[in-house]
């Protein structure tokens, strides 16, 4: 029960430069990011800075961007949709996170896992399933029309995008906020209760602000993801947003238009800016509030009234956010589902169809996503450590660089990889880009920001004095990281891994460019192939269900591991 006073240690300049090991680490990460992120992307987007037909440097394209009404409208729409999505995602995530982390809540691990599922909505089929439920002639509207004679435009225009995006991305807030809430010292909460605070005020004034690093990590991810996401608006036929504009232009055939790349640059700048602002908001505040290493305290028990209310809210939210998955499940068993609340009949034929082929996709997906997730947490921990715990010059640049990956459209990265690595051949003449490891690297780069934010938030909450204690007892920096920092960050690291892993498992845009043969293809590619058919979505949905179950099982496993390791260390509750 020893507490660590949050003294001034963290704001004292600890070192002018880093140890040789830290410098080497920083250089290695910088080299990796330059090689696999900056260079490939630069080969593609330099076009944004060149004059038409020549390679002269110019900013006239940005002038065009600002002058074009469509782009400015898109920019505004993107901001609006992203901000509103953060609001709604928070509405979904806050109750789930709070109830499952600070109370004795039966099925907390299941809620956490189910609440995570929306993130692994497979491409294409997810939107199809949502349309079947919430679309203009989806189940709900057909029934509403039948019974009451009106329809609700869930899926129309910008509001439709906000709805789908907040359902899709709220797990980012859920995961990061839950990790942060687990780390909030209960004495902080008790002190407030002791002074007369309770219920929502207690949450708003004390608990939530203390979990702010985690919340901001999640919220900024949601903002940037929605800002940069092109699939959802396009599937809802909303084109006047920035990311869809960039995608449409980059991939349109036969057009050598720099505007697509100009928009990509704008997206990258906006994303980095959002991340910078969220970091800025936390600056000058010490959030290392934990009593980590001490004994855990019991979670609160709900009164019967609270329990009814709590479970009611959780079930309501889960029902809403999991509706797409239910739709997907129905679709995978449906024969024909057309203009009716439910399918005409059910069949297992779609599963039979995908069964033979899915095993190779599953194997590839597991291998790729695991390696990519692994690379991400290693880089994430390293970058977070360098940024938060050293005074190396320019260390923030590692963070900005890695974060910028969030904003780079997958297709730009894919083309960049082909351009950069296809010319590089192995001794037997195979291009480097043709190896499956290229797909893994692309996935790792694309998902690095997720893991990085989680690791960053986890490290932010650990008091420096715990490390100083270790160093004081004779541990070197490296050993301190390994024996103290990493174990204490375990929850955040696992959260980061799970996010990277599961989103990498359903990533498509970059993969599509890089897959060279069916035997190297992951699940998302298989889904894409099955979706290229007008003969119904059954097989695609079946494969989608397989993907969701696969990733969900892995996620659930990780949650169990988190719980267990927390308990074993006495940090659990």
């Amino acid at each position: 029960m020893t507490a660590i006073p949050t003294t001034t240690a963290s704001r004292r300049p600890r070192r002018i430069a880093g140890t040789p090991g830290q410098i080497a680490l920083a250089l290695a990460i910088a080299a990796f990011l330059l090689m696999f992120l900056v260079l490939p992307v630069a080969t593609v987007i330099y076009v944004a800075f060149t004059e038409k037909g020549t390679s002269t440097f110019t900013l006239v394209n940005f002038y065009d961007f600002v002058r074009t009404e469509l782009f400015m409208r898109s920019l505004w729409n993107s901001f609006y949709v992203s901000a509103m999505s953060v609001v709604w995602a928070s509405v979904f995530a806050l109750p789930l996170a709070y109830l499952t982390t600070r109370f004795v809540f039966r099925g907390a691990a299941i809620v956490q896992t189910l609440g995570f599922l929306p993130l692994i909505m497979p491409p294409f089929v997810g939107a199809v399933a949502m349309q079947l439920f919430f679309g203009r002639n989806g189940s709900i509207n057909l029934l509403l029309d039948d019974w009451f004679g009106f329809k609700i435009d869930f899926m129309e225009g910008l509001n439709g995008v906000i709805f789908v995006q907040s359902v899709h991305y709220f797990p980012f807030i859920l995961i990061n906020l839950s990790a942060a809430l687990r780390n909030v010292d209960r004495a902080m909460e008790e002190a407030a209760q002791n002074l007369g605070s309770s219920g929502f005020r207690l949450f708003r004034r004390i608990v939530f602000p203390l979990a702010m690093p985690g919340y901001l990590a999640g919220a900024s991810l949601v903002f940037v993801k929605v800002f940069d996401d092109l699939a959802t608006p396009l599937l809802l036929n909303v084109k006047d947003m920035l990311a869809p504009q960039a995608y449409l232009r980059v991939t349109s055939i036969g057009i050598a238009d720099p505007m697509g790349y100009v928009i990509s640059v704008v997206l990258i700048i906006a994303s980095v800016l959002a991340m910078w602002l969220s970091a800025r908001a936390l600056k000058g505040r010490d959030y290392a509030t934990t009593q980590r290493g001490g004994g855990g305290l019991a979670k609160r028990v709900m009164t019967p009234m609270e329990a009814v209310f709590g479970y009611g809210i959780v079930i309501l939210i889960l029902a809403l956010v999991l509706a797409p998955h239910l739709g997907l499940l129905l679709l995978s068993f449906a024969t024909i589902w057309s203009y009716s609340p439910l399918p005409d009949a059910f069949t297992t034929a779609h599963y039979a169809r995908v069964f033979g082929e899915s095993s190779v996709y599953i194997k590839n997906t597991l291998i790729y996503a695991t390696i990519a997730g692994g690379i991400d947490v290693v880089l994430g921990v390293a970058i977070a450590y360098l940024v938060l715990r050293t005074k190396l010059v320019g260390r923030e640049w590692l963070d900005w660089m890695a974060t910028a990956a969030l904003a780079i459209p997958g297709v730009v990265l894919g083309i960049g990889y082909l351009r950069t690595f296809y010319g590089v051949t192995l001794p037997d003449g195979t291009p480097l880009a043709a190896l499956w490891i290229t797909i893994v690297l692309a996935l790792a780069i694309r998902r690095l920001p997720y893991a990085l934010r989680a690791c960053y938030a986890a490290l932010q909450q650990i008091s420096v004095s715990l490390e100083e204690a270790a160093e004081n007892l004779g541990a070197t920096k490296a050993r301190t990281v390994r024996r103290i920092v990493v174990p204490l960050m375990a929850g955040g690291i696992l959260a980061g891994f799970v996010t990277s892993f599961s989103t990498a498992a359903v990533e498509l845009s970059a993969t599509l460019m890089l897959v060279q043969s069916n035997s190297d293809a992951p699940l998302a590619y298989g889904l894409y192939v099955f979706m290229q058919s007008a003969a119904g979505r059954g097989p695609g949905a079946a494969l989608g269900v397989v993907a969701v179950i696969l990733v969900a099982a892995c996620t659930f496993l990780s949650h169990l591991i988190i719980e267990r390791s927390q308990k074993a260390k006495g940090m659990g509750h």
């Binding site: 449409l248 057009i255 720099p258 460019m513 290229q532 003969a535």
Partner: protein, 445 residues
Amino acid sequence: MLNRRTALAASLGLSLSASFMTIALAQAPAGKVTVVTSFSKDVTDPIKKAFEKAVPGLTLEVQNRNTNAGVKYVEETKANNQVDLFWASAPDAFEVLKGKKLLTAYKPKATGIPDKIGSYPINDPAGFYFGFAASGYGIMWNDRYAKANKLPEPKEWQDLAKPVFYDHVAIAAPSRSGTTHLTIETILQGEGWDKGWRTIKEMAGNFRSINERSFGVPEQVNSGQVGVGVVIDFFAFSAQASGFPVKFVYPSVTTVVPANVGIIANPPNKAAAEAFIEFLLSPTGQEVLLEPGIRRLPVNPAVYAKAGADYPNPFTDPRFQKMIGFDVDKSEGRTAVVDTLFDQLISFQLDALKGVNKVLHEVDAALAKKPNDKAKALAEEARVLLAAMPVTEAQAASAELRGAFTGGKEKGARQAEVEAQWASFARDNYAKAKTKAEEALKAAK
């Protein structure tokens, strides 16, 4: 070796010319043939199976990418090309590849394939790509949806402009879907530049959605999210084959165009690539197209003998004979301009366009009850404003305008400038049209 040759000869049968057999025997292709295609598994799986059976020793490696991504991919990897064939519907994509010197010329040995289907040449005259199956464009609709919303059965493009179809029609953006681009181009060529655009814009005033993927349209029609879709015929046929309650019609202004295959420049396995083309054009390969999941129109007229009686036959069916000729060069020359016009005047201004159209539909309804000349004249003024185009047909084909889209060396307007001009042209005209239409409505009531 003897076994393989015998099997090859036997399976290809006597329909193949003797000269091809000599070449095939001399080169004996083996190994892997890699093809980049936009075709779905429904199409590629049966063909792969039949091909590997017909030519033992060869395996077909299918890389599935949409047409645009496929073209980009081939372009980006040309330095160390690993792909043998490009295989897709839209002839435009092949024109782009050809223009970038990414295709190899070849002369197929297969016989029995005519020069033209309808009035469209089956093969690239320069010999860089070859049609292997034909498709026509038309209108697909969901029967349940149509009944529930009391929609009549559409027959012509103009039907889709009628008030009853307001907010019920879906299309893919021509800039995103090679097949839709051909549909738009067909209407433009069939009705003429100005009249064609008027038809298209009047239809567009009824659009529910403009999809980014070709597959989005049959998807929405199948599931009943949208009632009517502008699609390529086999989308509707394969949906019907799966049991969806959808119907399809070829309007009289349409065309049949071939889906193509071509050899990539500097292919790793040239002999195998040639073998694949020969297989596709052989009777065996052509017959595979008749399978319910594929339902494409073979380019070998003899194969239709094996098809059911209700299978559309473009070589004998009089409907197809009436279809218009299609000028590929004209289409290719203005592809980017037509697509960008569609995007700037329709896709990105859809709300404004629909707003005017809705009022015009109300005017029509009011006029039907109580004729009013002033209102009629105002409505026509509004329609003219809607239909107005910022460029003429001649300008659209001009080298100057094309230069803005190709990023060529020549000095000229940048694409972004041209687009901004067109967008403000459309915005202004639609705003004016809205005022006129509202005046007309006031007068009519």
